[in-house]
């Protein structure tokens, strides 16, 4: 049995693809389980979707190729989150707002642990960080 994997992608839809039911094709044609974590549709302009895909690596690869053939830009979520961790002072302000637990404090060292793969792009950390260290590319 081929192992299933789970990955989060940020999909950016060009204006002409915004109204096509592309995500459902991932389920039908490529046997990928999808979980929409965040969506932003700007009619006549672009759209953004944070999509978690579960399936075999081969199927996810095919699904991504299908989306890209329809001019949908697909990027792994962690490529969209920019965190200047080397400037972090481990104050914990971002962990106060991160309910996805992408940002947590290590209970021994009290250093910040960052797991971008858990992020749901609520973007609360962007304003919660007093050093302004987070930037998330989701809106186009």
């Amino acid at each position: 049995m081929t192992r299933e994997i789970k990955k989060r992608y940020v999909l950016t839809f060009p204006p002409q693809s915004g109204d096509k039911p592309l995500s459902s094709q991932l389920v039908k044609e490529y046997d990928i389980n999808i979980n929409i974590l965040k969506a932003e549709v700007r009619p006549g302009k672009t759209g953004s979707l944070l999509l978690e895909m579960s399936g075999t690596a081969a199927n996810i690869k095919k699904g991504i190729a299908f989306l890209e053939a329809h001019h949908v830009n697909c990027e792994l979520l962690n490529k969209k989150i920019h965190f200047r961790q080397n400037e972090c002072i481990n104050c914990g302000n971002c962990t106060a707002v991160c309910f996805a637990e992408a940002l947590t404090m290590d209970k021994k060292s009290w250093e910040l642990k960052f797991k971008p793969e858990k992020c749901i792009v609520c973007e609360l950390c962007v304003t919660a960080c007093p050093m302004g260290l987070f930037q998330i590319d989701f809106h186009y």
Binding site: I89, N90, C91, G92, N93, M105, W110, M131
Partner: protein, 387 residues
């Protein structure tokens, strides 16, 4: 009769490199097995530390005189207003000062830029006088070009602090961080058992003239901090249940580093400065050993609703519970998060420990102790005050 030590005896051991120095966390752990009488036999100095946002911070600067000279009556540093009501080229840049058109870059950022050795644009205006004829000046300065720049913070190192939560239906942006609606989080600030004034609650060894770690260099306690309050209710360990005593501190900014002094911006609130402070506590006797042995579960604090006017009290908790990740407020489980850096505070306590162990940092007996019976006045609005 248990052992007592004088400041001079401890300093002699420091000079000889024989002083036993522990951090407050290490001694709290030691206290699980040893009594205060045994601890005072073994340990000479305990280092405490904190690294949190302290709004009441700022720096005095003397820019030096230009030719022809100017009496600076309006001053901007990288566009941020700096106080002009001192002598011709003296100023004070406060951490929270800002240009309302650029609120995310404030006095704290100017201070950090000075510390980092960056060039800063100075623009000043004066009316022109017989002795200071110039009316305008625009130039570039940095920490090496100015005569003096020293940090002088009127209120730092709060003894304990409230936990902040928000019972309303709206998100609140505060200096205690982002408070989510309906008590979805509770934020706390102090470094608990490592915090300076929680390890010497009566301030027997911390007073005017105490030599401390400030922003990466040597600094001094110079006065009781503003809003110094010693009459708040205390628990059985002598620790106040909410924010009480404070310290005014001073140190040479030219020697500081942004490892221990960092500018911050809080959404919709404004700028502030994270200040790194470390304070050594000499174990003069069994009583001091008892004080520094305090543990997080013995330090209690008050939970306030920052969303509601008057910040009503919602309950009490302690630092062991706060650090566990959840507390209970009115029977409801609420997630907790720190807003001050314990990791950095630990680095400071370790650094100060090394300074003392190396014989380069002696402890100071306070020139005078701080007052005992102070409380706060609120600001009354007097009828007819508006005109």
């Amino acid at each position: 009769m248990s052992k007592t030590k004088t400041y001079e005896e401890i300093n002699e051991k420091i000079r000889q490199g024989k002083a036993v120095v522990l951090t407050a966390e290490e001694v709290s752990e030691m206290a699980r097995k040893l009594s205060p009488a045994e601890i005072v036999e073994k340990v000479d100095v305990v280092t405490t530390a904190t690294f949190g946002a302290m709004c009441s911070s700022g720096a005095f600067i003397n820019f030096g005189h230009a030719t022809p000279p100017i009496r600076m009556e309006k001053i901007r540093l990288n566009g941020v207003p700096s106080y002009e009501g001192l002598a011709a080229v003296d100023s004070y840049i406060g951490a929270t000062a800002c240009d309302p058109d650029n609120p995310k870059y404030g006095g704290a950022h100017v201070i950090q830029d000075f510390v980092d050795g960056k060039n800063i644009e100075l623009e000043a205006w004066g009316k022109g006088t017989d002795c200071y004829p110039r009316k305008h000046l625009k130039t570039v300065i940095n920490k090496d070009s100015v005569n003096e720049i020293f940090l002088f913070n009127p209120r730092n190192a709060y003894q304990n602090y409230n936990v902040a939560t928000n019972t309303t239906c709206e998100i609140k942006h505060t200096y205690m961080g982002t408070l989510l609606p309906r008590m979805k989080n509770a934020n706390y600030s102090t470094s608990g058992e490592l915090s300076p004034l929680l390890n010497d609650p009566e301030m027997r060894t911390i007073g005017l003239g105490t030599r401390i770690f400030l922003g990466g260099t040597e600094g001094f306690v110079v006065w009781p901090g503003t809003q110094f309050n010693t009459t708040k209710e205390k628990n059985e360990y002598g620790v106040p249940f909410s924010n009480s005593a404070t310290l005014a501190v001073i140190g040479n900014l030219k020697e500081m580093t942004s490892e221990y002094l960092r500018a911050a911006y809080y959404e919709q609130y404004g700028t502030s400065l994270f200040v790194g402070i470390g304070i050594p506590i000499p174990l003069l006797d069994e009583n001091m050993a008892r004080c520094v042995s305090i543990r997080n579960e013995q330090i209690e604090t008050t939970i306030l609703d920052y969303g509601t006017e008057g910040t009503p009290v919602l309950g009490r908790t302690n630092y062991a519970e706060l650090r566990s990740g959840t507390i209970k407020i009115n029977g409801e489980k609420v997630r907790t998060a720190p807003v001050a850096s314990l990791q950095k505070a630990r680095v400071i306590a370790d650094e100060l420990k090394k300074w003392i162990q190396s014989g380069n940092f002696e402890i100071t007996k306070p020139v005078i102790p701080f007052p005992k019976n102070t409380s706060l006045r609120s600001l009354k609005e007097i009828e007819g005050g508006e005109s």
